[in-house]
């Protein structure tokens, strides 16, 4: 489809395999010297957009990342996977710590309007804060239909047919474009970037903007009071019989 434009969100997060550590002052988690990568659900979103372009269902893909300078590495990965151009909405590292899904949604919806996007695809959640809000709020701000937790996306006469993962099963819905989709785990399996595409990505356009360029105020509305490790799980005990179990529970004052 010529002139069909897809906007994808690409958040830079601490790599899924990293054992996250709380900073000694409890203001957040350690990010220095820690491996970061593209949020896996966003990688799935990028892959889906690229496949749609390969099937000629889309003509252009734009990737957006909000955050500090290093987000450009994440955007380069997206470009190497097949995205056409990228927008980096840069924030100070300090500002980024208090950035919320609402801020990102406002930015994404502004960009979607400005760039005349027909479809926004973002991950269903980011694996760092696990919010699961950005897609939904972007849809609301744009007043577009949404199809969240997508595990299959197909075109059906001008609209999209989206299979969604819901509690206890799957649901297929039709959405009119423009729309906002969020990708679930089983939507696809992201490709490896090829070496030639990594080199080509270097030459693809990447522009840097500020939240204020989109009229978005990212002053924090929330304050992080304290970040703490989850309590360490206590070792359990094996009991031989129901009687013993009851005795133990009584001893512990639980029954």
């Amino acid at each position: 489809m010529s002139g069909f434009r897809i906007l994808v969100g690409c958040k830079r997060v601490i790599d899924y395999a990293v054992k996250v550590r709380v900073k000694p002052d409890k203001t957040g988690v350690v990010t220095e010297g820690v491996k970061h990568s593209m949020n896996p659900f966003d990688e799935i979103a990028v892959e889906e957009a690229v496949r749609m372009k390969e099937k000629k269902l889309a003509s252009e893909i734009i990737a957006v990342s909000c955050g500090p300078q290093q987000c450009q590495e994440t955007l380069r990965t997206a470009l190497a996977m097949g995205v056409d151009r990228a927008i980096h909405v840069i924030t100070e590292p300090k500002e980024y710590e208090s950035m919320q899904p609402i801020h990102v949604s406002k930015i994404l919806s502004k960009i979607a309007t400005e760039e005349k996007a027909d479809l926004v695809i973002v991950g269903k959640q980011a694996i760092d804060d696990d919010c699961n809000q950005t897609g939904q709020m972007t849809a609301s701000l744009l007043d577009w239909p949404q199809a969240t937790f997508a595990s299959k996306i197909e075109k059906s006469n001008g609209d999209l047919s989206v299979m969604r993962e819901i509690d206890g099963g799957l649901e297929t819905i039709k959405v009119k474009v423009p729309a906002v989709l969020t990708s679930d785990l089983r939507l696809n399996e992201p490709r490896y970037a090829t070496l030639p595409n990594i080199m080509k990505a270097k030459k693809k356009p990447l522009v840097t903007k500020k939240p204020s360029d989109y009229g978005v105020d990212i002053t924090p509305r929330q304050e992080i009071v304290s970040v703490e490790d989850p309590p360490v799980r206590q070792a359990g005990q094996k009991v031989e019989s129901v009687e013993e179990l009851v005795t133990k529970l009584k001893e512990a004052g639980l029954v």
Partner: protein, 425 residues
């Protein structure tokens, strides 16, 4: 495989989805603590190199490492995995883009081979030999040869082998005795090559053979296709390591090769073979780096969990110091390997000696590192359930092939002792 890769990516994440099961993951190579540590192989690389390294590391982690024990045990040459690597651009890394190669440089290639070999040394080492052959065709072959072969070698749909060693001429390769006689528009080859990596299973053989006088100047380089009349192979050798690739003798009995398959000019063969090997030495040294990197990671993790005398092993100073020695040897080796790669990229006249030093030093030190890693695993290190023993076995041969480490010292000392123009550089 697909499902596995995806699950492993997202494991440890309790996803807000009832059908997602959390998988308990066994240790993986390229462990995350390495970022931000002194052995991080990404230190000092450009952004682009880091992206390339990431793809190669991901590929090693997902496609090679889970199979390396099986390929070793069952002696499987993983042709499909090679083709997949070819699709990503790993088949002709430093061939020119115009010919269908990837167009990266030797430093990039070194980073790639190091990353890949963490997942399987033997498979990566074969990929490195294949790359060396592709470069020889691209660099010295005429336009027809390079246009015909580089695209197919780049995707690894066709695989290549390097044929220099003979049963009676190993280190003394300049005196090789396989002959090629020109008859009309053909060369007729007679003789045999020994220890040919990929031999019998590959499609293209880059053969050094004698077309003229004794010594290096009488040698020419030919491309021999599998299926040529008179081309045969010996039995598959049983080896200590490098078991995911076959090694066989390649035999020529009045083997007919079109004259147009001559690479370079008559008499250029030895020079071409040595120029190829300069890069080959950097590549094979890079494969040792990957094995050492992975072995150190495994050892560090083992020391932190294994308890003896009521304490974890990482609390004994002897073991701490051994680990420090291993890390220091690794980073020093990496430095000289990357310097030699740079010498090739920038065509320094000292490149022969620097490539020799890199190969000599890195393959020796990395073998020590892997051996120490095995030692620090105690009895477990000797078991095939643990990867360290395979790294030890797989990189042992790097001290022998592509010029033994004795021959490396011969080249280094020659560089120091020769006055005036240096040989073969």
């Amino acid at each position: 495989m697909a499902a596995l890769r995806r699950t492993s990516r997202l494991l440890r994440h309790v996803l807000c989805n009832s059908r997602t099961t959390t998988v308990v993951q066994t240790r993986k190579i390229g462990e995350i603590w390495v970022d931000g540590s002194c052995i991080n192989p990404a230190l000092g690389l450009t952004e682009e190199q880091k992206q390339i390294q990431k793809v190669a590391t991901d590929y090693a982690k997902n496609e090679l490492f889970p199979n390396m024990a099986k390929w070793d045990e069952e002696e499987i040459f993983p042709v499909d995995t090679l083709k997949k690597a070819g699709e990503l651009g790993f088949g002709a890394i430093y061939c020119r883009e115009e010919s269908g190669g990837t167009g990266l440089n030797r430093q990039d290639a070194s980073v790639i081979f190091e990353a890949l070999s963490q997942g399987c040394v033997s498979t990566t080492a074969y990929i490195s030999i294949h790359n060396m052959c592709a470069w020889m065709i691209d660099e010295f072959g005429n336009k027809e040869l390079s246009q015909k072969w580089i695209p197919q070698l780049s995707t690894m749909e066709k695989l290549a082998s390097y044929c220099l060693t003979e049963p009676n001429h190993g280190s003394d390769a300049a005196n090789l005795s396989t002959t090629a006689k020109q008859v009309g528009d053909k060369f007729i080859l007679n003789g045999s090559k020994a220890f040919i990596s990929g031999g019998g299973d590959t499609d293209v053989y880059i053969v050094m053979c004698r077309t003229g006088e004794q010594g290096p100047k009488g040698i020419s380089c030919m491309l021999v296709e599998k299926g040529s009349p008179g081309l045969a192979f010996g039995k598959k050798e049983k080896k200590v390591g490098w078991n995911s690739q076959p090694t066989r003798a390649v035999i020529f009995e009045d083997c007919e090769v079109p004259a147009s398959n001559l690479i370079g000019e008559l008499g250029d063969g030895f020079k071409i073979a040595m120029r190829g090997l300069n890069g080959g030495r950097v590549n094979i040294a890079s494969c040792s780096l990957g094995a050492a990197q992975s072995s150190i990671q495994l050892t560090r993790d083992h020391l932190k969990v294994r308890k003896q005398f009521g304490k974890t092993l990482d609390s004994f100073q002897h073991l701490q110091f051994t680990l420090a020695d291993m890390a220091t040897k690794l980073v020093t080796s990496r430095n000289i390997v990357r310097m030699a790669a740079r010498a090739l990229d920038e065509d320094w006249s000292e490149k022969v000696a620097l490539c020799s030093m890199a190969k000599y030093f890195a393959t020796e030190e990395c073998s020590k590192i892997c051996n120490d890693a095995l030692q620090l695993h105690g009895g477990y290190g000797y078991l095939k359930d643990y990867a360290v023993q395979q790294y030890v076995r797989d990189i042992r041969v790097h001290q022998i092939l592509e010029g033994t480490n004795e021959i490396m010292r011969l080249l280094i000392s020659r560089d120091l002792l020769t006055d005036g123009e240096r040989k073969y550089s």
